[in-house]
């Protein structure tokens, strides 16, 4: 609490300081900026008065006009890709400047976490992607901007639902059971990746249009400054800032049409009739209807997305600003789903006291209004009998056809699939989520000791998610669902609030010590971050039916029928999980002669999630880089423009995935449906919960060897990195010796795992001249994952930890974590095939030759993660036209086709429970009956899901000043998810986790957009 007050006490006075403005006496300078190569006028060059925040930028013909204080003697000209020039204006009213193209990439400023560095000075493995390289098209969530762009980074979208996020893995992920998500830092604020009630994805609350750059920190020498949260890599997102100069506006508008690329293959109505007629009993045949319904047609539809963004940037007096607003409306291809996002951001970047004090203020906010489609319809559309109509003649169940059973209380056939159209139309699941992320960062260069900066960063990330789920009592999915079968429907609410606060401060000392050819850049800092959430189970209400511990009446949010009948009620009004991190960190960069670069970092983190004995951890790293190109023997090799060797080692930690209080012995109260009766009284029960006082950080050691190279004036650049990541004290849910804890499985630091791999990136410019440039890039990553330890005793007979639940058998799993194998390897029976290559049902290899087919015959067969993944892009610019595409491929990734195994059997089609269901056409290949308990685990259903996908194809035209002077109009069109080449037989070969069952299909998206600068 105290810290929050402190934050306020500091922020507001500082904002007042911003009102300080420049003094009155001014002079005006005009001129033109040209390209040194061809003398053409350069638009958009930033012109600033040295020593102040006054600035402007050049117009489309390269001319500028700036008014500065009389005391200003120098103007600074800068533009991306050109060398910055300082020009004296003493006694001049006009200056013409010619800028020289420079080797941009080496001097590119890369954000490294608590500071920046020039690319040439980097010692770690960091990839920087800026706005010009972002993926184009209908990009709803930020991470999709860089999909396929970075070696070692695998981004898999979680399906096609509006606003759904992605699974991001950097170098395979370092953990088994805890989190494998990278740390994401937005403008210096590490954000809560945990999500919020009512939003499909936390990152979906950020408008991608506001993002300037991504910096991906991959090896530990780069990430270790983030210590205990850095094992899975760090993604630093920087948003667009204000530029000095007069106000510029940008308006972009785009319209997209999403379509379903491919339906799941199911029996057609004719095939279905044939099958039932030839395999069913007379009573089963009689169940068929007369309709011909394509259920997938009924639930999917073309969907449109509109995305409009307006931004203004410039400088108000001495204060550069950028303000943007965005409006997104996205419909899902699964009908009824929709996302409407309104976002706004403000940045202010004033400099005070002759540039001694730099202030960056970033405020971002968004409101997401969603309606979630019932994704259960995806599965039931595959399974629903195609001979039945969508609507019945009866009004019961909202007029939708449903399988009925007159003898059951609900009148519905138990366990029969529900009408998918009914599921969609009768569920109104809406949420309203707002989130704001902001920070104010002060960077103060001491007046009496300007080599030293003091940097203070105060940040917050607050969100609030609330929503309602309404299902009418006529709907089959909630028909007479109360225990006494008198009340039906759903009318529920939920509310969650999250509040994360950050306070960071560091000192930065930078010094060029010319006498010994050295440069030193050091920081030392402190960080405090608090994550707290409040999960509400109800609200205070004077007429409430429950009373809390403080005697206040409240109304529970929990489960209601539509008529208000309370089906179950919670025990507590709210729960408030919270955790904190306190850290001290330091970094020293030392460079000798600009050729030999050394970096050392250390971070000490303390977490509230561990007991006092294990609370604090050290996370050191060291790296060395050698700019070989600068050595005498290479200096004159013209063809080689850059060559650098990097070596790094670091230790990082990981604590996500551990409960906030797992180390504390505690008792929890059972809910009102888990009471126990003595005599005539039902008692609330106290349960001692399992706990592990010895929990500590997962620790990952990473070794990295990298080479950066450039040829032909850096028209060909690239890098190769070889890495080894060893995770120790892996958090694993392990069996406790029975009788020694209150839970037989407990999260403990027990396992070891390794990831080793090679990354290769090459970016080239095969053609570069005045009218035509062609950029071509390619990256490839090989990653191998192996679990090296899982249990205390390492018993060779222990198969491993079963994971990967599947549909078809309750509690059945298809994957296993085993020592000596990749994580989540498939754990299956070996199918036996007949002479013509067809699988023989329920015939499996007796692998251990004991005459029995049982769990001892299961074996590990392949794994879901790819061995190799590749990305490639091409951009061609010709005069005012440009065109590009990006491709992505995964090789050696395997998938369990759960749709085939669950629906492609006779037992599913002609269900003995008295209804018919459709299923996969795979049935016609296997002719499996679906009897027995092992066919589900057959390796027949494990398919190689390697694929090549064109993620994006785009074309654009720069129409220039079409709509007026000082304007620039660009027009573009693109297609996303253009095609996929794969042998995988399911709908989509790319499902995170490797189990394909009722996956929300990724749409194919056609977009046109207009972008106007004025």
């Amino acid at each position: 609490m105290y810290c929050e007050r402190l934050l306020r006490a500091i922020v507001f006075p500082c904002l007042l300081l911003l009102s300080l403005t420049a003094s009155a006496q001014e002079k005006t300078i005009t001129g033109k900026v040209t390209d040194s190569k061809d003398g053409s006028g350069l638009p958009g060059v930033s012109v600033t008065a040295k020593g102040s925040s006054i600035g402007t930028s050049t117009g489309t013909d390269g001319t500028f006009r700036i008014s500065v204080r009389a005391s200003v003697t120098t103007l600074i000209f800068s533009s991306v890709g050109y060398g910055t020039q300082e020009v004296s204006i003493d006694g001049k009213s006009s200056v013409d400047v010619s800028l020289v193209i420079i080797d941009a990439s080496l001097n590119e400023v890369v954000v490294t976490g608590y500071g920046t560095s020039k690319r040439k000075d980097l010692t770690g493995s960091i990839t920087n992607i800026t706005a010009k390289d972002f993926n184009k098209g209908s990009i709803i969530t930020p991470e999709q901007l860089i999909m396929g762009k970075v070696a070692g980074v695998q981004i898999t979208t979680n399906g096609g639902a509006p606003g759904s996020g992605s699974t991001i893995r950097i170098r395979g992920g370092a953990s088994l059971n805890a989190s494998n998500n990278p740390l994401i830092v937005i403008d210096g604020v590490p954000i809560d990746n945990g999500g919020i009630a009512g939003a499909a994805n936390a990152l979906a609350l950020i408008n991608p249009n506001d993002i300037e750059s991504f910096n991906i920190l991959k090896d530990a020498s780069a990430t270790a400054i983030y210590g205990s949260r850095a094992s899975n890599g760090v993604i630093i997102i920087t948003t667009k800032k204000g530029r000095s100069g007069k106000m510029k506006l940008n308006l972009s508008t785009q319209y997209s049409l999403s379509t379903l690329p491919k339906q799941a293959d199911v029996l057609s109505p004719a095939q279905f009739r044939d099958y039932v007629n030839s395999h069913g009993t007379a009573s089963q045949i009689a169940l068929m209807g007369n309709a011909n319904t394509d259920w997938q047609d009924e639930i999917y539809d073309k969907a449109s997305t509109t995305d409009n963004n307006l931004s203004m940037s410039g400088a108000f007096k001495a204060v550069p600003y950028r303000v943007s607003v965005g409006f997104l409306s996205q419909d899902g291809i699964l009908r009824t789903g929709n996302l409407k996002r309104t976002s706004a951001s403000i940045t202010l970047n004033p400099k005070l006291f002759k540039d001694h004090l730099k202030i960056d203020l970033n405020l971002k906010g968004s409101i997401n209004k969603s309606r979630f489609a019932d994704e259960g319809a995806i599965g039931t559309a595959v399974r629903f009998d195609p001979t039945q109509p969508v609507r019945s003649s009866s009004k019961r169940y909202g007029g939708f056809f449903e399988w009925q059973d007159p003898s059951s209380t609900t009148g519905l056939r138990d366990l029969a699939p529900l009408n998918p159209v009914g599921l969609l139309e009768q569920r109104i699941d809406k949420s309203n989520v707002s989130r704001s992320i902001g920070n104010i960062q002060f960077d103060y260069k001491l007046h009496f000791f300007p080599d030293l900066h003091v940097n203070v960063n105060l940040g917050y990330d607050v969100s609030k998610g609330k929503g309602t789920v309404y299902i009418p009592d006529s709907a089959a999915s909630a028909y007479r669902r109360s225990p006494d079968a008198r009340h039906g429907g759903v009318n529920n609410r939920y509310l969650q609030k999250k509040s994360n606060t950050l306070l960071e401060t560091y000192l930065n000392y930078t010094k060029d010590i010319k006498s010994i050819n050295s440069r030193v850049d050091a920081i030392a800092g402190y960080s405090y971050q608090d994550f707290s959430a409040t999960n509400y189970n109800g609200e205070l209400d004077p007429n409430g039916i429950l009373t809390d511990a403080n005697g206040k009446k409240w109304t529970p949010y929990s489960d209601y029928a539509t008529d208000g009948f309370l089906i179950s009620s919670p025990t507590f009004r709210f729960d408030k999980p919270q955790n904190r991190l306190i850290s001290f960190f330091g970094r020293l960069n030392y460079s000798y002669k600009g050729k030999y670069l050394l970096t050392g970092t250390v971070r000490r983190d303390g977490s509230s999630r561990f007991s006092k004995d294990n609370r604090w951890g050290w996370f050191p790293s060291g790296a060395f880089a050698w700019r070989i190109k600068e050595e005498g023997f290479l200096k004159n090799v013209i063809v080689l423009s850059d060559l650098k060797l990097r070596l790094g080692y670091g230790e990082t930690g990981q604590q996500d995935g551990i409960g906030n209080y797992n180390y504390i012995p505690r008792y929890s109260v059972a809910n009102s449906r888990a009471q126990y009766q003595f005599g005539n009284t039902f008692y609330d029960l106290y349960r001692p919960d399992g706990y592990n006082p010895n929990l500590k950080w997962e620790e990952t050691s990473t070794y990295n060897l990298g080479i950066d190279f450039g040829f032909l004036n850096n028209r060909i650049t690239g890098s190769v990195d070889i890495y080894l990541k060893k995770t120790e004290d892996l958090l694993s849910v392990i069996d406790q010796p029975a009788g020694t804890n209150f839970s037989n499985k407990i999260l403990a630091n027990i396992g070891d795992m390794e990831n080793r791999g090679i990354e290769f990136t090459i970016n080239t410019q095969p053609v570069r001249n005045k009218t035509l440039t062609w950029d071509l890039g390619f990256n490839i990553t090989y990653n191998k994952n192996e679990i090296t330890k899982l249990t205390f005793t390492n018993d060779p007979n222990f198969p491993g930890n079963l994971v990967g639940g599947i549909a078809g058998g309750v509690g059945s799993t298809i994957q296993i974590h085993s020592v000596g194998y990749a994580k989540s390897s498939f754990y299956v029976y070996q199918q036996v095939y007949d002479k013509s290559g067809n699988p023989i049902e329920n015939l499996f290899e007796d692998r251990n030759r004991d005459g029995l087919i049982n769990v001892d015959d299961l074996y590990r067969f392949e794994a879901p993660d790819p061995d190799v993944f590749l990305g490639s892009y091409s951009n061609l610019s010709w005069k005012k036209w440009n065109a590009g595409f990006s491709l992505r491929a995964n090789l050696g990734n395997y998938m369990y086709n759960n749709r085939f195994s669950n629906t492609g059997v006779q037992r599913n089609i002609i269900d003995p429970l008295g209804f018919l269901a459709n299923g996969s056409t795979n049935l016609l290949e296997t002719n499996f009956t679906g009897n027995g308990d092992k066919y589900l685990l057959s390796d027949y259903y494990i398919e190689n899901a390697s694929f090549l996908r064109m993620d994006n194809f785009n074309i654009g035209y720069n129409a220039g000043a079409l709509v007026g002077k000082n304007t620039n109009l660009r027009i573009g069109a693109n297609v996303q998810n253009v095609f996929t080449i794969t042998n995988y037989k399911g709908v989509d070969p790319e499902v995170s986790g490797g189990i394909d069952n009722n996956f929300y299909p990724r749409p194919r998206v056609f977009t046109i957009n207009l972008n106007l600068d004025f």
Partner: protein
């Protein structure tokens, strides 16, 4: 310059202030969960933990019906004590088959289970979980702790009684482990949480421990039928002793039939009587059967919800053309049936003569062509979530039926069997009388009564099947009669063969789950696994 110094000073001060004010804030505690000191500060708190100690028989976790399970590594609905116990005791025998395809469930009937079987693993952990709860509770009930918390007088006496009941429940679960797994790990209130892996105890050691514990609390337990419904008393202790002694030859190689007679007789003489109508035994209002039920697991459709226990028993048996509504449930799970051996023990399958013969035959085949087809094998209608008057239980989804762990009939049968097996202290005439008491109720008259010559050991085994089928006795009974693994007694699909086959004798014991073998190096696997 002055202003510069000022600004520098303000910054330095700010930084120091922030660093100093926000460290040492890493001790956070949960909002709603609480500590043992708070829980045990009042007598009411003790009773709420006692509720959990008992409730872990009936519930699978802290959130009914599922969502916050006690036992990990198994589907929570599967992790219920009685559901797992029932599967281990019934699906491995002639009394029951199940149609489902869950991994490992068909192993019971095929008699090819392994140490990785998830149901056997779940039951093992559930039993030891309850023992662990009991140990902790008994520790907290120690006199010095209770006194230290300022609890005195009647409250302290009650807590002492709670501890005795926890010892009874612990003894019961050790009996389960000994019967099924033979040689489990051994933990008592002296074993601390987070302590070293416990030692293994032999079957004999567990037998002796259970016997000693029960005898130690026997005299201090409440008199039969005087404790609250759902809590244990002297009769529960005696019943477990009687059951233990009846099987002593199997457990420790020594016959204890005399003791079995002694303890069965104590229960029989404690004022119990059979209820009038056998078909009322397993019904939604069977809490009324207190004259016959000695100790029950209490389920409740609204307050004690889970997917195990009698909810499983009343749902899994419904499928085919059986109208779910007649079972007081929303819909059946199409799982459990019986082999023909069970209905063949009765004079007819319709319950015309012997009312215990409760089967559903319409659309069901007596013969089982395919174990996984629900309509193969007769369905059993013994468990219904409807009341004596035909009205439904409180919930369509969760059963109100309580599950007796001990009821009077078993004591009659133990007495008779122990007499036939030459135990002392009983007599054949009384034994015959008890059997005919059971049969008179079954036939609603004396037409089914037997004569002294008909009372043989084989008759007792059959009578136990007729009276106690689907109540979790069959595997133990068949082992005692040397008919479980042997090829001398077969049933359809025994050992995975249509006509039935014998299997290796090591299958008289289930294996210690490999997961525990792996985490506890003190454990040695049972022979043959």
């Amino acid at each position: 310059m002055k202003r510069n110094i000022l600004v520098n000073g303000v910054f330095a001060g700010m930084v120091l202030l922030m660093v100093a004010s926000c460290t040492k804030k890493l001790d956070l505690t949960p909002t709603n969960d609480t500590t043992s000191e708070v829980v045990y500060s009042t007598p009411a708190g003790y009773k709420q933990v006692l509720g959990k100690v008992y409730g872990s028989f009936a519930l699978t976790g802290n959130s009914g019906p599922a969502g916050n399970g006690d036992v990990q590594g198994i589907d929570e609905g599967f992790s219920d004590f009685y559901r797992l116990f029932w599967k281990a005791q019934e699906l491995s025998t002639d009394e029951a088959v199940i149609s489902w395809g869950d991994v490992g469930i068909q192993d019971f009937h095929n008699m090819n289970w392994t140490s990785n079987n998830s149901f056997l693993t779940g039951l093992y952990y559930r039993s030891i979980y309850q023992i662990t709860l009991c140990n902790d509770f008994i520790r907290e009930c120690a006199d010095d702790k209770v006194a230290g918390r300022g609890i005195k007088g009647t409250d302290a006496d009650n807590i002492r009684q709670y501890a005795r009941e926890a010892r009874f429940l612990r003894a019961f679960q050790y009996w389960v482990l000994m019967d099924l797994y033979g040689n489990p790990p051994f933990v008592t209130e002296a074993s601390v949480i987070g302590g070293p892996p416990p030692p293994q105890a032999s079957r004999t050691q567990i037998f002796n421990y259970v016997e000693t514990e029960l005898k130690a609390i026997e005299n201090d337990m409440p008199a039969p039928r005087t404790n609250e419904y759902g809590r244990s008393d002297k009769a529960a202790v005696w019943s477990l002793l009687a059951r233990l002694y009846l099987n002593a030859k199997v457990y420790i190689g020594t016959e204890k039939y005399t003791e079995a007679i002694t303890y069965a007789k104590k229960v029989i003489d404690a004022g119990y009587s059979l209820i009038s109508n056998y078909t009322w035994l397993m019904r939604a209002d069977n809490h009324l059967n207190t004259s016959e039920f000695i100790f029950t697991i209490n389920y409740d459709g609204l307050h004690t919800q889970g997917y195990g226990g009698t909810t499983f028993l009343t749902h899994a048996c419904v499928g085919g053309t059986i109208p779910a509504a007649t079972f007081g449930i929303a819909g059946g799970w199409s799982g459990t049936r019986t082999t023909k051996n069970l209905p063949n023990l009765f004079p007819d399958v319709t319950g015309t003569a012997d009312k215990r013969s409760q089967f559903y035959t319409s659309g069901q085949n007596l013969e089982i062509a395919n174990v996984t087809t629900f309509t193969d094998g007769l369905a059993v209608t013994k468990f219904k979530n409807v009341k004596r008057d035909g009205s439904n239980g409180q919930s369509q989804d969760f059963s109100d039926v309580d599950m007796p762990l001990f009821r009077l009939s078993e004591m009659y049968l133990i007495y008779a069997e122990a007499v036939l097996r030459q135990g002392a202290g009983g007599d054949a005439a009384t034994a015959l009388g008890y059997i005919n008491t059971i049969r008179t109720r079954a036939y609603t008259n004396t037409s089914g009564n037997i004569s002294a010559v008909q009372l043989t050991l084989d008759f007792i085994l059959d009578e136990r099947a007729r009276e106690l089928y689907w109540e979790g006795f069959r595997r133990t009974d068949l082992i005692r009669y040397n008919k479980f693994v042997e090829s001398t007694y077969l049933w359809p699909w025994k050992g995975g063969v249509a006509s039935g086959t014998g299997v290796s004798s090591n299958r008289n014991l289930y294996p210690i789950p490999s997961r525990d073998i792996n985490s506890n190096q003190n454990l040695v696997q049972n022979t043959g696994y």
